[in-house]
Each structure stands twice: as structure tokens, then as C-alpha cells.
Amino acid sequence: MRHLTYLALLAGCLVGTAPLEIVLRTRVYSRWRRLVLALLPGVALGVSWDLYALHAGHWSFDERYVTGITLDRLPIEEVLFFIVIPICAVLTLEAVRRCRPGWLPGRGGSDGAIGVRGPDGGIGVRGPDGGIGAHGPDGGIGAHGPDGGIVVRESNPGPEDPIAMDRPAVEGDTR
């Protein structure tokens, strides 16, 4: 059992951070392709450094505490270390983001890409025009007034342009 010591420590790290994905919905494992890409540089540099250090005698591993599976004398646990610890780091960062979005750059809101994509806003702005124009006949249903949000979303495609084109004509008349 002692041989599993290091491996068990790593497993403990994964088990300990897993609730972040489930409870806080950090969506780290679910975006596994991005995760793999993000981990690659650390794994490559970390394993290279580790191999150098091992061969240069900077550190060594007690064979009693590792499985014995090695990669060029490097215990497999060390390779896993450079996968497990970075995963824990990403989970922690995303957990912080879930709790305090404004404390990190990016998706919190300042990121232009999100603002553009955030067409929730776009729908909101465009909606009223289209909604009124296209769903005019819905006036009767309009009795449900507060539900306007739903109507707005349905009317989003299309009907805005005619209205937009009408306007200049109206403004032209004022001249």
C-alpha cells in the first residue's frame, strides 16, 4: 500500500476539487478540449524540468512511496502531478470567477467579445421596435402586458427593417 502514497495524494487533490465542478458549475472538465490545450505547455515544461533535475541530482524519489512505473526514470506520479495540480488550479480560478466575476479579466463583462455576443442586450434593444411593429395585432394579447419579454423575443427576426426604413421618411417630413 505504501507504494500508492504519492498516487493517493494526487487522487486526493482531484477528489477534493471535484465538488467545484459539480456545486459551483465551474465547467472545467466539461470544456475538456480547452483544458487539454491549457495544460500542454505546463506538462511539457514541467516534465522537462523534472527530468533535468532528476538527472542533475537536484531531487530524488523514495522508491517505497511510488508505484515503480517510470518514464525515463521519472516516476509516473511526477508526470501526473503536472496534470493534476494544473487542473486543480483551473478549477480554483473558475470557482473564484463564479463567485466574483468582476475580479477576473475576461468573461466578467469587460471583454468585448462577450459584449458583442451578449445579444441578450441586442435582443432587448431591438425587440421593442420589432415587437410593436410585427405584433401590433397582438394588442389583445397585450393584456398580458408584463409578459412582453416573450413577445419581443419571438418578433426579433425580421420586422425591424421596415420600421427602420420608415423612420427617415417621417423625419424627412419635418423638414
Binding site: Y6, S60, P86, A89
Partner: protein, 97 residues
């Protein structure tokens, strides 16, 4: 080259990666430092176990000798560089999608 010297290079390289290469600028955000503080707390435990149980042993000649929770202080720098590089890459990949 000593472990100490390698850690110093890694620290500078990781910060430059974050600020200049990938421009993720995590070190300028509060969220990164909160995450790092949490991670460092757990690192001291895990690293403390690894070094305290002597799963991994260091050549005294390549470290300056200051230890925190059994582990050489260089391990903190190593951890910082690994965490910052990873989170910078994660942020950069995320931004691109």
C-alpha cells in the same frame, strides 16, 4: 544550474508570459491572487506531505535551505510559475473561443 536559479528564471518567464506574451494580465487581477492564495494553502499541505514523508528528497547543495512546512522555499516559486503559466494559457485559450 541550481534549483534556486531555475526557479528564478521560471518566475520571470511565467510573469512575462502572462503580461507580454499571452497578455492575459492575470497578475493584475484580484481574482488570480485569491485563487493563488487558496492554492498555496493546499500546496503547503500536499507538498508538506511529499517532503515530510520524504517521498521526494532534495540535494542540499542546490537549494538555499529555507524550508516552509518541510518543503524548500523554492517549491513555492515552482508552484507559482506552474500555476500562473497554466492559468494564463487557460485564459488565453478561453479568450480565443
Amino acid at each position: 544550474m541550481t534549483y534556486t536559479a531555475l526557479v528564478e528564471i521560471a518566475l520571470v518567464a511565467s510573469v512575462l508570459t502572462d503580461l507580454a506574451l499571452l497578455r492575459t494580465k492575470l497578475v493584475t487581477s484580484l481574482g488570480f491572487w485569491i485563487a493563488y492564495a487558496i492554492l498555496t494553502g493546499f500546496q503547503l499541505v500536499v507538498n508538506g506531505l511529499l517532503t515530510g514523508l520524504r517521498v521526494v528528497q532534495y540535494d542540499p547543495g542546490v537549494i538555499i535551505g529555507i524550508r516552509i512546512a518541510f518543503a524548500p522555499i523554492e517549491d513555492l516559486g515552482f508552484g507559482f510559475a506552474l500555476i500562473l503559466l497554466t492559468l494564463s494559457c487557460w485564459t488565453a485559450v478561453e479568450r480565443r473561443n
